[in-house]
Symmetry: C2
Subunit: 162 residues, 2 copies
């Protein structure tokens, strides 16, 4: 089962490598990690998406909580989560292919953010599965590059995530 | 000056902590880091946004290139870049405040993705400055939580980023 950890940490060099190192030492795979400014100055919110053994993850959470500069850690199940990922895709596109690609991009509420002679950059936002589906639809045109942020998330409703 | 590093790495545990550790040991601050699946299976694209001494950054890039599981590293200036960040903001919102907030959110092409009795979650995509501006406009309503992915980026036009 996929678990999402939402953490608030001090915005200090070293926090990221300490947390990532803890997962590595236990051989626990991080599917995605995002980190950005949190609601208060000096704090960052880090979101880690993982799949793996639940009991092992509980152990990791306990160790993360003890790390210096870590303020709070919460594990959120998929049902309680608003989870989104941003993706940029550079795809080959001759002039005739462009309108076809437009027809694919629109229903995904994605948008074209850069146009060159023979390529486009498309920006898409959604959950991981939706973004994966868009990649598959664009693959026949020739995907040049993909850049994805990984998942960021908040708990639904009024509760506080971490 | 802000520099953006775009790297292609093998999707292996330990890559993230090795790269982050290299920045930490040199006391070089990472503003944001994102990592997600790249265009080929088994590869991830990592995007690091930094500000700091250029010469020092060149040294770090050389060391990153030598790391195991790192396939390529490119440093991209702001002018050649399509750079985007995704942000989720949970904001206090009574029924009367909701329509006011709608009026703020629309011109930013942001959208409301969750509604509770006294709060909303807003999803916004843009460059860091645009997202910062939205946060400031929403601050008077009471910001409960913010989750940001950090910046992901591709080179404009047909060139390949890394």
């Amino acid at each position: 089962m996929r678990r999402t950890l939402s953490m608030v940490v001090n915005d200090q060099p070293g926090v990221l490598s300490r947390i990532a190192g803890l997962f590595t030492r236990r051989g626990y795979n991080i599917e995605s990690l995002t980190v950005g400014t949190a609601e208060q100055p000096g704090l960052s919110r880090m979101t880690i998406s993982t799949t793996g053994d639940e009991a092992e993850l509980e152990q990791i959470i306990k160790q993360v909580e003890k790390l210096i500069d870590v303020i709070s850690v919460v594990s959120i199940g998929e049902d309680a989560l608003v989870a989104r990922e941003l993706m940029l895709i550079k795809v080959s596109a001759s002039a005739p292919a462009r309108s076809e690609i437009n027809g694919i991009v629109e229903p995904f509420r994605a948008s074209i953010v850069d146009v060159a002679h023979s390529s486009l950059i498309i920006q898409a936002t959604g959950d991981t599965d939706k973004n994966d589906a868009l990649v598959e639809l664009l693959r026949p045109y020739g995907i040049i590059e993909i850049a994805r942020t990984g998942v960021t998330a908040l708990i639904r409703g009024q509760l506080v995530s971490a």
